[in-house]
């Protein structure tokens, strides 16, 4: 799963190359992409919640000792993991699932999120997003939440939707749009972080609004702010964390003592899954 994510990324780079490529090469590339896609599709979009020891089991204590021991260490704090399909959408999907779980359990939070999603719809139009093609995604997302609120969809129905490509893509697109919307709304603040001679608008269109494009740190902070969540990311590999630590708190890197995350993600190179803390033991 990890590998496919990375392979996917590199083949995308190839297609953006400006060199002329022959039709045979295009065909070969298409075949490769198809194979990778088939491999990805063998995993569910959103896995069932399962014991974190299933993560430990993925690593060989001898050949990947660092990840093996890190996974073991995580089991001291966390009890469960929900694997997310590695298709370039994993960050957005993981946050979506995490948020939906919170809202299934807390009607007041759900009500607030419906309100803010409606506000986002108006904001996106004001920010100049193409009118009906964008608001379609917003309306779909709001209807999805409203069905939970009205009791039309129970948790089973909700997870069925989250695991259905057709439905889930529309929900993810809403997340991508508000991520992009947050960046565009605060363009002056984010512009300096955009590299490679892209404008912020171009970056949003090619990196954020395009499905199956992996998220970078900018996308992460923007979605966290757009959804107003507190997010912790645990890193399997210390060198990957922006602050050089084992985990990172967002939006503003609060220190651990005062920070209570709504959602916790586990980052393994190129991929995000959801993890869940052990229930607090009553003293």
């Amino acid at each position: 799963m990890l590998q496919t994510d990375m392979v996917h990324g590199s083949s995308e780079n190839q297609t953006t190359s400006t060199e002329a490529i022959t039709e045979d090469e295009i065909l070969l590339q298409d075949q490769q992409l198809k194979r990778i896609e088939d491999e990805q599709k063998s995993a569910p979009l959103v896995g069932d919640k399962c014991s974190l020891f299933s993560l430990v089991a993925l690593y060989d204590p001898d050949t990947s000792s660092a990840f093996f021991s890190k996974a073991n260490e995580l089991t001291e704090v966390y009890s469960d993991i929900r694997f997310i399909r590695g298709d370039g959408n994993c960050f957005y999907r993981a946050v979506l699932v995490g948020l939906v779980e919170i809202m299934l359990a807390d009607k007041e939070k759900l009500r607030k999120f419906i309100t803010s999603s409606k506000e986002w719809t108006e904001k996106l139009v004001k920010l100049g997003f193409p009118d009906w093609t964008c608001t379609d995604f917003c309306e779909f997302f709001i209807e999805f939440l409203q069905n939970i609120y009205d009791g039309k969809d129970n948790a089973d129905a909700v997870f069925k939707n989250l695991n259905d490509d057709n439905t889930a893509n529309y929900l993810l697109m809403f997340f991508r749009l508000i991520t992009s919307g947050h960046l565009k709304e605060n363009a002056a603040h984010y512009e300096p972080f955009i590299g490679e001679g892209l404008t912020l608008a171009q970056y949003c269109e090619t990196e954020i609004e395009a499905m199956w494009k992996e998220s970078d740190h900018l996308a992460i902070i923007a979605l966290v702010k757009a959804t107003n969540i507190r997010l912790r990311i645990e890193y399997m590999d210390r060198s990957e964390a922006p602050n050089g630590g084992w985990h990172h708190n967002l939006p503003d890197g609060n220190d651990d003592a005062s920070f209570v995350p709504d959602i916790t993600l586990l980052y393994r190179p190129g991929h995000y899954d959801l993890i869940y803390k052990k229930p607090a033991v009553a003293s």
């Binding site: 297609t15 093609t133 439905t167 697109m173 395009a210 499905m211």
Partner: protein, 200 residues
Amino acid sequence: MSNIALNRLQRECKEVVTNSEISETGIMIEILNENLTEIKGHIRGPPDTPYAGGMFDLDIKIPDQYPFSPPSVKFCTKIWHPNVSSQTGVICLDILKDQWAASLTLRTVLLSIQALMCSPEPKDPQDAVVAKQYMEKPQVFKSTAEFWTLKFAKGTVPVNTDYQGRVDKLKDMGVREEEAISVLSCNNWDLNRATVYIFS
């Protein structure tokens, strides 16, 4: 395809068909099947280009993942253009590949292809032979593209008798007209080289 996607596509088709600017924009679509997965596009050759006066047909196929994946679009009318394969009609256009966004529509796609017809991008070619001619022999490119427009896209420019004469010579040798035009175009209308290419 999901119902949501189908609804959206219906709306997109309507957007092209009922848009009041049609007479000005020169784009049109025709729906070929009920579930809207196969659509025919038409683009009128933009004025002041070698394609002026022609009518170009495109095959549009809507993938299952639409609108998250781009529609697949190619010319079925033969066209001489650096960013379109002169053999297969495959188009090299960023929004049909990695620059696709789910907020784009059939209308924006057709308008973008029309814009590409006005401003070729020879540095990012689909057809290297055409692109080379476009950059090195712009006059030959222009008259070749006009000839193709006349021959394949019902264009209205007067026929280039010089070119037609060379095509006829190859036809006399038993070569199909389409192949004759293609090989001559690829060889900058050098009859000897075209003949050698065909018969060697």
